[in-house]
């Protein structure tokens, strides 16, 4: 079964067109990477799926549900969640970890919120010590763990990852990537991961789409990428730049 199906997606901001007729589909449990340099429209695709970029045409289906415009209902937010690029910007500066997680749990209609908050923290590798801290008392990696815990609050099936490690140190990057890999294995999550980092995508994803100037130039499997079997010149260029 397909988790996310995107057909002929065009997204624009005012008169600027950011994504041009992109089509791809992600099977449930699969992990797909969107790769490209900055400005190639990869994050915009995630924002169109979640309704944060309201002006788009084409068709998007999420777990069998047709999406229209910018409005998404609760059942969508329960199944599809997003982790943002910058953990310094994605946590409310005046809300403690406890507030962040219990509000997400409350909004997702969960019960036993206190218990679940502890469980979530445990799942992302943060102990109860961190529960009542504020974002400024956490490091970048810890913040990103909290952001991941928040995304997991409603027990979603699809996680959209918008360059989840690009704002972090290299050593912390590896920790977060391992955490994401473990979570996917434990919960059978479907990932769409946006990154400009080919090795990260090769590590995390089964398939990947290479984007340039708002269009997908090549779709390939991670195995093909590792075997350097890129066909398009742009992909070869990217590969050469990253090795």
């Amino acid at each position: 079964m397909t988790a996310i199906n995107v057909q002929n997606l065009d997204v624009w901001f005012g008169s600027v067109s950011a994504v041009r007729s992109v089509s791809f589909s992600v099977a449930q449990g699969q992990s797909v990477g969107l790769v490209g340099e900055s400005g190639s429209g990869k994050s915009t695709i995630l924002r169109a799926i979640t309704g944060l970029a309201p002006d788009w045409s084409g068709s998007i289906q999420a777990l069998g549900q047709d999406l229209h415009g910018a409005a998404r209902d609760r059942s969508f937010f329960k199944k599809v969640q997003m982790v943002f690029q910058d953990p310094y910007a994605s946590l409310h500066p005046r809300h403690s970890v406890d507030q962040v997680l219990s509000e997400a749990l409350h909004l997702q209609g969960m019960d036993a919120i206190s218990k679940r908050t502890e469980k979530l923290l445990d799942d992302v590798g943060l102990g109860p010590r961190f529960r009542f801290r504020y974002p400024h008392q956490l490091s970048g990696g810890q913040r990103q763990r909290v952001a991941i815990a928040r995304a997991l609050a409603g027990e979603p099936e699809v996680l959209l990852l918008d360059e989840p490690t690009s704002a972090l140190d290299v050593s912390v990057q590896a920790e977060i990537l391992n955490l994401l890999t473990d979570l996917r294995a434990d919960r059978g999550l479907t990932y769409i991961m946006v990154s400009h980092d080919l090795p990260v995508v090769a590590h995390m994803c089964d398939n990947l789409a290479v984007m340039q100037n708002g269009s997908v130039v090549e779709m390939m499997t991670a195995d093909a990428l590792r075997a350097h079997q890129a066909i398009e010149p742009y992909t070869r260029e990217l590969l050469a730049a990253s090795t």
Binding site: R74, Q81, D86, G154
Partner: protein
């Protein structure tokens, strides 16, 4: 719990409960507030003002309305009139003490109206955008176009002179700047990722505005209000001076200056002493506002 461990508990980097996190946050804010002696001075003056207003009947040596025409315009230190008497022989110190109640009343009334209206209008306009923004902000512009004293005159003409109407007039002209400030902050906050994240959890506009935008707007609003408070006291005193605010025999400080103006060359203290009181309170609010800005500014990484 001994004092040392209480302090450690308050300054802990890893609070163990919601309550500890909150109390520790307040305590650290308090430490930062009181570490600046100028802010502390402002805070002490305002605390003193509140205490004086609360205990006015106990502190005042005379009845503030008690006239004694034989002892009018007596200098400072005359008999038991420590700050002299005014043109009707009323004790200036007692009038000053009772006048602090009026000053606090003005301050409380304006802070109850202007920032609240401004915050509501500004955040709703900023978050919703589009038509709501246009309607609310153009209304704000209309209010911004009213000159304060002219509006006060209109109010006095329509509703009769009095401190309430003066405060109403001040509040009606004071909220638009708060609305604009709240809107500007909301515009930057609403595009941030933590708002996008909570929207993706299914939060509606009401929850986002009240729980996520207000906490970030309120701190700069408090600072702004505290700094504006001096201006508001001066405006109220100015209205009193023009005879549009507090009416005689009310011991409002501006009205006291107005009365003393006639004798300013021969009996300087009658106008000077209430003037000094206004100056002191305005200064205290400004000092406190500066300190609060350091404590509350979210851009400094602090938290409340």
């Amino acid at each position: 719990m001994s004092e040392q461990t209480l302090k450690q508990w308050l300054l802990s980097d890893a609070p163990a409960s919601r309550m500890q996190a909150r109390v520790a946050g307040l305590y650290q804010g308090w430490l930062r507030l009181t570490s600046n002696w100028m802010t502390l001075t402002g805070l002490l003056i305002l605390t003193a003002l509140v205490l004086i207003a609360a205990c006015a009947p106990l502190l005042a040596p005379h009845d503030p309305f008690d006239q004694d025409l034989l002892n009018r315009l007596k200098p400072i230190g005359f008999d038991d009139h420590y700050l002299g008497t005014d043109s009707l022989g009323r004790d200036i110190l007692s009038r000053l003490i009772y006048g602090s109640r009026i000053t606090l009343y003005i301050v409380a009334l304006v802070t109850l109206i202007a920032p609240v209206v401004g915050l509501l209008v500004g955040t709703v306009a900023g978050y919703l955008g589009g038509w709501a923004d246009q309607i609310l902000m153009r209304t704000t512009d209309v209010f911004l176009a009213f000159p304060r004293l002219v509006l006060a005159l209109a109010f006095v003409a329509a509703l009769g002179p009095g401190i309430e109407n003066a405060v109403l007039a001040i509040s009606l002209t004071a909220w638009p700047p708060y609305a604009r400030m709240a809107r500007a902050e909301t515009l930057t906050i609403r595009s941030s990722e933590f708002i996008a994240a909570i929207r993706l959890q299914g939060a509606g506009p009401l929850r986002i505005i009240t729980r996520h935008i207000w906490p970030l707007c309120i701190s700069s609003l408090i600072v702004r209000v505290t700094l504006d408070m001096a201006g508001i006291i001066l405006a109220a005193a100015g209205l009193g001076f023009l005879g549009l605010g507090a009416q005689p025999p009310s011991p409002e400080w501006g009205a006291m200056i107005s009365e003393g103006r006639r004798f300013i060359l021969d009996h300087w203290w009658v106008a000077t002493i209430p003037g000094l009181a206004i100056f002191t309170v305005s200064l205290a609010f400004n000092l406190l506002g500066d300190g609060l800005r350091d404590v509350l500014d979210p851009k400094d990484g602090g938290h409340g």
